[in-house]
Symmetry: C2
Subunit: 276 residues, 2 copies
């Protein structure tokens, strides 16, 4: 049988036994592949990096969405930059407060492949509360000053087109696109393998936002298995905030529950000390 | 270059680029290997499974030791079953309260190989507060009723000789070897890949101990990257306990700090719901 290996560093990686290849094309931005794996179900790869698997996608999507949507007192308008697989939209739709969810994904092929092969994720993109734009999130922010209560940056790693999503000018654009009281969350790499990238991101965000704090989740197929998101806001301090009651739609979550919110912000010393 | 792969399930694993092989012998119990890896430094393998690497061993050893040793009001006598690499002893020695640390490891070859190739771990075994026995921990408990304030079960996976360390009779022996007020901590596998094993362990421990609660740590080279330990005690409820001040010897820890103690007991829903 064939095995797929993603090197997370030049000298270490994950290896997964493969079944059928379902999709393999090059878009204007990247190689888009959907393959079957025997352990994790279907898997979306962008330029050979694992983005989503059936079995563990719930961790990433629950953890990028629910902390901000429960920390905001009334998250009516939500922007998701990237996230063409639809998983973050699916989780945002659990919040009745979110009346408009706008997905801005640069690569239409990711959306199309996800609609075809990940219906449990992308099926929600047809919901009437969802608007989908195939466009550059960076440029979109300039057209949307003060428009959103929550902005989720569900981006790729900081290489290629996504590199500009990890810079101070981008953070300032995100801030300008927030309504007063708004919250942004950025996927922010692995604190184990990418500690210096994450530290620089957090310190740059603290130049832009009054509060910026990373929080962690365990994603088995991502580099090192430990992943970070960074919560940024002028109005809401994630360390002090009291969460809204998420109501019945959050009861069947597989990873997140309210007690996990403060716990996820407690960092291991090896990274905590880098921020001091 | 050569690569080492450990399959964590039949269909998924970790792969690491290898340097030199430093040690490769069969003991009476298992194959013992020490190899260089380019990403994680030296690595100890038992029967082909990663036990310790230079780069991430600190997580396991800090997290199996400090929660119990700080939750106990006066941990004078500490027993470590397994742990022949010496890492858990090294961490226990940070506690001046621990006047006697007894290591009971069944396989002398693990101790010998660790003394030779992991001096940063096994060097501490010569400390005057440490006693080392090459013996079966299961049998040792019978000879030590009411002897220890803290017992740490730093064992292998539940196969072969170690399988009996995952059973109710073993938990009762551990309890009988504790002094009043005592605490035991068991390494208890991955909640992601071994959720049913861990659930059964915790439920069996709750038949023996008044309190038994799993807590989590992130270990990149272990299956799924997420690992569990289970805290068990008649006297000390880990959810309510106030930790002792660990003093200056804990200030340079790389993973554990006091705020991490309650956070580590907050489980993701996919496992939390299995215990309800």
């Amino acid at each position: 049988m064939a095995w797929f290996t993603e090197k997370h560093t030049p000298h270490a990686g994950i290896t997964l036994e493969l079944g059928e290849t379902l999709f393999d094309r090059k878009s204007a931005f990247q190689r888009v592949q959907v393959v079957e794996t025997l352990e994790y179900g279907r898997m979306l790869l962008l330029d050979g990096c694992v983005m989503v698997t059936d079995r563990d996608e719930f961790v990433y999507h629950e953890m990028i969405v629910h902390p901000a949507l429960l920390a905001h007192p009334g998250p009516e308008r939500v922007l998701i930059i990237g996230g063409g697989d639809g998983g973050s939209v699916r989780e945002a739709l659990r919040h009745p407060a979110a009346r408009e969810i706008h997905l801005v994904e640069i690569d239409g092929m990711v959306i199309d492949a996800s609609r075809q092969f990940f219906p449990a994720l992308a099926g929600c993109l047809d919901d009437p509360r969802v608007r989908v734009s195939v466009a550059d999130g960076f440029a979109h922010l300039d057209t949307s000053p003060g428009a959103y209560d929550v902005i989720l940056v569900d981006s790729m790693d900081p290489v290629g087109e996504a590199a500009k999503l990890f810079t101070a000018p981008f953070f300032r654009k995100v801030k300008a696109a927030l309504r007063p009281g708004g919250i942004a969350v950025f996927q922010s790499e692995s604190p184990f393998y990418h500690a210096d990238i994450l530290r620089d991101l957090v310190l740059a965000m603290r130049q832009t936002f009054r509060h910026a704090a990373p929080y962690l989740a365990h994603i088995p197929t991502y580099p090192s298995g430990l992943w970070s998101f960074t919560f940024a806001s002028d109005a809401v301090d994630p360390i002090a905030v009291k969460l809204r009651d998420g109501g019945p739609a959050l009861e069947d979550l597989k990873y997140f529950h309210p007690a996990l919110f403060p716990a996820a912000f407690v960092l291991p010393n090896y990274f905590r000390k880098k921020l001091q």
